[in-house]
Symmetry: C3
């Protein structure tokens, strides 16, 4: 196994964060103090330039890079590397004034006013032109600086625009996709329904709030287009930078399982995937361990976007955040634990938003390493400095990989199709929640899963779970069939294979595209349950599962029945089936049940797939990273009590002690055990 | 009694549904199969042409009727009659492109975009012109076809438009109504309040969201105008069709007690009333029997819109629907029961939306006789086919009538006035719910009530209940007085007779327009109760009623006091009164109580009115249709358990057996007993 | 002590209300009857002209004052004085038609339509011009009439406008404020954040819904500007009236602690403060006594806006109102009690909206002295007439003052800043609620507090409480320090002194601007609690307080620790502190607790401040007004049961009896005891 060091020049894990000296140019004393404090906190990186446009170019064509260069110099001289952001995340006032086309038109059809951020038209030629100019100048001035280790493209891409330029681009995109043949589009979108036939591509409007919202094909293509166009914009920025400094790697910071963009389409354009991690710790609807576990899932999503290389946790909050419904401070020890979890999940960086709190505006109360008080004598600063120390201890982890043998299928197209589908029960579709619930169940068995697209190569995996795969991409059915044939353990659920990629229903019985033969069943009806409705499944192994929200009624062809409904008019009929196919098995769970209840089934699949189960005390996470020189086991105690783990052998890098057998973890404690 | 056969050429009850072959023109095999399956399902009708415009006229002036004619021919050859719809329910893209005036302007003052359906400006001359052309061509081509038995005008009319054309038409409507005298309007709308005097009719705008919403007269006239203008549009379509084929009957499909249009104004223009019936079966807030009972009420509303003739259930869902909050499948037997209920309530048809599920778009998962699987081997298909059989057995019912001797007064104007009134408690006005609750209480006594307007002829009735008759139409008070004088039993409630048809309060004491003399009381104050507030009424007959939400404080003139409040500062004062007038009685219930608690009072009124009570086991419905040759008693078991009914004599057409005494009904079972 | 008689010509308390004869000009009989009934009800005043514009000037330039003059004459002849309103609260239709600029543009950027009221652009030169004309004519015609005792400016000012004229005026306002130096504004608004630097003042837009909402400085200045511009409009009206009749006093009717305008900026322009009082009596979330107590707070707010002179209760409802969520009738006796409370709190008037119910439109069901029935034979009329009698009995109270020695600090700027701050927990900021809760706690100790701004002169007070003083005005810290130095007892809480008047955070530790030295503590972190989270404070006096919603973690410098947290990771650390400074004490309560729990602390502060505590039975209010000739103690029984109060000595003006010791109060009863 090769090591994938993201930044060989650092020889370390990155510890850094967003730094905005442009807010303090009139306070050189504070800028001096920043460097002193960064070193004290063990930082080896700072992210500069996010939202700096109005200082870099205060008037059109008037540029000021000297302050930025000075900061990059000084940081570099103090061993702190720069992640350099393009400033395109927010536009200066003069730009919107001169080029109103840069401002979006919203779903209501109204041009937005200047303000906020992340709200530019991705199509606007003028905006792209101005971005080209500033990006090129930035790269020319600072891209070759030895302290600059990476470009950070814009910030947290997202959002839609309904302006005339975007509408035209959407029409061109559609014409391209449907071979300039409007009848292909009419067939794909089933426009004979409700008299919705189009005559020409330039007749098509995006789904305005008071416009066309009832054509599922249109709705989905608009989502796809928004990703396509955002990606195009991002690629444009990247191409400008690469034309100047082709060797500086680029990233763009993502946001969890964000619903607005299909990150899987964007990741290939980036050298490294990064994301901004803001869990709602200490909330009142789940345990702390649950919050951590969901965060582990999000890390897995990011890791899987670019398999075979570490990712970056580009942002996270020291202390608290300021925009959540309830802004709670992290309890002592939690910061360290959450930082370690990122590394455990595959991140080679621990970065923060933000280094120092700004005195005013929207995020003046967002957690930072340095608070308004301006000193290092705060709990938050001390905890950050401890993380700095710790990252040095576990530096050998840098470049190693998390390489699971199980995967969960998650598709953005499928998500959008389910979100929009006029079926089921509006309030309980819960595609993401269902995926996360199943992922967490496997994770509780000590099995980390990748989160991959339904058309991705599955050869690295022995167990694959594909919940609610309502929409099938062109190659999906074949992909799954091949996976089972070569010995894979596959599990699908209710609401699988109803529509193709155009959202046209399969004829001849669900799941379509051949999957009814793979699973040996046909789904005849799907019942939606009210919150108070319940059913059950009696498994042949004696266990009984509780059914909520959805239950399909099956016709069984040639599958083995593993469980039957206990109640209602379909009581006694098949609810869980398995069909042997090739050297593998294809399981079908026809109703919604909690992942927890399916654990015995999952264990069987893992056993058949040859994947070892590692059960730890509740709330203790187990992660593994491995590389050429060894394997690093992460044990994270996500509970407020001491926990012990048995069968641990190796050297704990955190305490620098050998563990032989039992590992004791303090409240929120962690160990990173290097094994053979 | 004469029989009112809707379609003598069929000699039967109609079994049919919406059919959209235009979605499958590239699949002649499927179109062939449709005919075979329709016959197997016992269908004798199909509704064609709803939303077919973009296929009938794919480009302006280019017409394609050949496919439609071919289908009508083939169906007719197979014994299946066509209900032929005009396509005006949705506009082709080319039409909106060429004539943007056809798209509505919404309450926010913004022109809507192309898309959706049922959203055209009813005023637009251009839209009317294009509708005229397509309707005329449709009638010319197919109106005389022997298979065509009816026209179906547009689809589910509804909605408002705030465009300049509608505004001008509204102003003309107002000028006409107020004799072109703006001071009459100023007086009627009490515009001296808040300085709202108008100088001219062309100054008046409809109630835009950010405009005039505080003039009750304006708000109500806008509602009335919307009905008037929609009706005018509908009449326009009808006149075009009649000019070509004067003898083909017309209908338009209504939607329950829809709040947007006063159906009572539209019904006279139609030959037959029809409606689309989508109950939320198996929900979690009421019993199944309650859902059925409310549906029975809705049938009564439709039946009463055109007394003396059967109506049509134009749409209903085989299986499930796809747009409800929770889309549940109908339990086995429920489909049959609901179809029979429609016939029991006065419908001569059982029709579905839809025959076959379309592969894409908004209703791709709406229940259909034929599912995506495409076969007759589904539970839903089998249940539909059973209904087909059953309708043949009870065919003699066709043309008979439901003729109750009790009526509930329900006015759309009153409904709109209450909805808008600035009084009471916003969340608990519940006019419709109160009417339905009372209707259901009578129905539980075996008494079906018509649902009539307050100015309608009441001579067919012996008992009339007029809940919350806040607004009095010009003739209402006289109508009620005459009803009581000739021996009628009348019951009114709190919130009666506060305003006239302009919503001006009556001076001199409520209820106004002479009703305080009819009832012998004056309502001095009305108290609104918080949800946790309670009061009671101690009746002189010893029963005690619970009061919620509203309580009027009365001054009793010359009425007899039947009940007094038990609590609060008005404890001991009159709450229920009765005054003998002429040969009848006028009851007044001054507070809100559940219909269930008033049952003894209702029984007394029925007894005095000479109307027999027929109490059945809970959840068993009793309906009667009668005609020249006899009387048909419908017994519907709306429970999941077997029920027995005694005192039944006659021949059950469902089982083709004689019943003498006790009738046993299976779970969801039904009997149609022909008596003398 | 000087007496401050508002209307010496009346020699009495005012009993009156809004009167709209313009709605009844075609009913001279009713206008005659009005005078007879007013006298019977003991009214000595009527408010005329509110919303009369369209009758006074039915067409532009055509004036009709004759009817108004006739009414003023007749009333005066019958001993009824006129409060004369300018009609600018609602615009005639012709005005909006001719001058659309008078209609506001809303936050969405759309010009509103004609309609409603209180919705004119305050900037529009045309609207100001038309107001000037009508106001001048009104003053010229009637301002010198001996019956006219006051001008009532417009009605219930409120609302914002985003039109081009307002935007330009806002930009001019900002340029003026920031010395025409855009960099001063950029620094004050911290615009380097998110690249929000402005180049010129004319680039700045107000916070449109789809515009700039993330610059706290902008948001706050927009609020300040709205007050400034509304005030400017009001001053314009006043100047017109004063130019004609300089000696007629002016008022404008306010609305409780209204969030839209900083009344403290407007009050100096008025001769008398007045307000409209509509409590939600008999609701289901608090006791009646609680509702009354909160109303007492609102009276205190109004009284404090113009210390040293009585205020007016310009509107209140006889019977009920019609626009609340639940419109309940006032229980017998409540009307009298609420009227007396107004007087007790410092009002010299009891006025109603409205004298007689209008037949139509928005407030046709709003309570009035005369109902639609038109007679005096109603409960409501009788209760009003009783109040008329009572006001005569307590007439000597007129002109006396409420003069507390304790004050609560409440700032509109602070309120707006907290409302907008991105911190804490969105749902539980509750600044107003927290202030009211503390005010009520003192009131329960028999201590009435003024409600003053943080930069006001505090020399009249010995105890000052400043809850959540997040934003410090320029002089506030000095003001508080001086207050403590000269012996004051000061209490501040969590979330104090975070930002300056520009909302820039203080550097160097909170509370800023020197307050951390005054209190001897630094607030290092603030934790937000979920609803189910709890903590406690163990006081050194042995009591234990419950903590909810917010808890600051303190570094204690040189303060005494009075209480410590009981739980969580900051358990044992300081939660309540006190520092002696000068001759006074500065208390700091670091967490949110109910005012009730802090009572012992409040009692200590009062004792140290030399303010006597007067504890009465729960639900009995104690108010004091005093003047040259004596002191009037008001005892209000806000419970449904009889109550007794001991230690009362003097003459009860209500019963005209001497009280020596024990005072007995009936359910909802009251006494006004004149003491030495």
């Amino acid at each position: 196994m090769e090591k994938k060091m993201l930044f060989p020049q650092t020889g370390a894990l990155i510890h850094g964060g967003d730094y905005n000296p442009e807010q303090w140019l009139d306070r050189p004393d504070i800028l001096e103090e920043d460097v002193r404090l960064m070193k004290k906190a063990g930082m080896n990186s700072a992210t500069l330039g996010v939202f700096s446009w109005s200082v870099l170019e205060p008037r059109e064509g008037e540029f000021h890079f000297e302050w930025l260069e000075e900061i990059v110099d000084r940081l570099y001289q103090n061993g702190i590397y720069t992640v350099l952001a393009t400033p395109s995340g927010a536009r200066p006032a003069w730009l919107d004034e001169a080029y109103p086309e840069a401002m979006r038109v919203n779903r209501q059809g109204m041009r937005e006013h200047h303000g906020g951020r992340h709200n530019h038209c991705m199509t606007s030629p003028k905006y792209r032109e101005k971005v080209t100019v500033i990006d090129r100048k930035l790269a020319e001035r600072l891209g070759s600086h030895p302290g600059v280790i990476m470009y950070h493209i814009s910030n947290e891409f997202g959002g839609e625009c309904f302006c005339p330029l975007c509408i035209q681009r959407f029409q061109e995109y559609l014409a391209e996709k449907y071979d300039h043949d409007i009848d292909k589009l009419n067939a794909a979108w089933w426009t004979a329904f409700w008299s919705h036939r189009y005559n020409r591509f330039d007749q098509i409007e995006p789904p305005f709030a008071s416009g066309e919202n009832s054509v599922m094909g249109l709705n989905l293509e608009w989502k796809r287009f928004t990703t396509w166009n955002t990606n195009d914009f991002m690629k444009h920025e990247i191409s400008v930078l690469r034309s100047v400094t082709p060797d500086v790697p680029v990233t763009a910071n993502f946001m969890r399982l964000f619903g607005g963009l299909d990150y899987r389409k964007m990741a290939p354009e980036l050298d490294v995937v990064s994301w901004d991690n803001y869990p709602l710790f200490h909330n009142d609807w789940e345990t702390f361990a649950e919050t951590m576990c969901e965060t582990a899932f999000q890390h897995a999503v990011m890791r899987s976007l670019k398999r075979g290389t570490p990712f970056m946790m580009m942002e996270s909050a020291p202390g608290l955040v300021n925009w959540q419904p309830v802004n709670k401070v992290k309890r002592p020890g939690v910061h360290r634990l959450a930082c370690l979890q990122a590394v455990a999940g595959g991140s080679d960086t621990v970065q923060y938003f933000q280094w120092r709190k700004g005195r005013g505006s929207f995020e003046q109360f967002h957690g930072a390493v340095v608070d308004h008080i301006g000193t290092d004598d705060t709990r938050v600063f001390r905890e950050v400095a401890q993380v700095g120390e710790l990252l040095k201890k576990i530096a050998p982890v840098a470049g190693t990989l998390v390489q699971p043998r199980a995967a969960l299928l998650f598709d953005w197209d499928n998500r959008w199709a389910i979100e929009d589908v006029k079926a089921l029960a509006q309030a309980t579709k819960k595609y993401e929640e269902t995926c996360i619930d199943i992922w967490k169940s496997f994770f509780r068995l000590g099995v980390d899963m990748d989160v991959v697209g339904s058309d991705e190569d599955l050869s690295a995996y022995d167990v694959v779970v594909a919940p609610m795969l309502y929409l099938l991409q062109p190659g999906t059915a074949g992909n799954l069939k091949a996976f089972v044939e070569r010995g894979g353990q596959l599990l699908a659920t209710y609401f699988t294979g109803y529509v193709n990629a155009d959202q046209l229903c399969y004829l001849g019985g669900f799941p379509g595209d051949g999957l009814k033969d793979l699973f040996g069943i046909i789904s005849e009806e799907i019942d939606s349950l009210y919150p108070s409705d319940r059913n059950g499944i009696q498994m042949t192994d004696g266990t009984k599962w509780e059914v909520k929200e959805y239950a399909e009624i099956l016709q069984v062809q040639d599958a083995q029945i593993l469980g039957r409904y206990t109640d209602d008019f379909y009581g006694g009929s098949a609810a869980v089936t398995c069909k042997n196919h090739g050297r593998g098995n294809a399981y079908y769970v026809a109703a919604r049940t909690a992942g927890e209840q399916m654990l015995p089934l999952f264990e069987k699949m893992l056993a058949d797939g040859g994947i070892p189960v590692r059960k730890l005390p509740g709330g203790v996470e187990y992660h593994v990273r491995s590389g050429e020189e060894g394997r690093y086991e992460f044990y994270l105690n996500c509970t407020g009590e001491e926990q012990t783990v048995s069968d641990v052998k190796g050297k704990d890098l955190v305490t620098d002690t050998e563990v032989q057998g039992t590992l004791t973890l303090q409240r929120y404690g962690a160990a990173v055990v290097k094994t053979a």
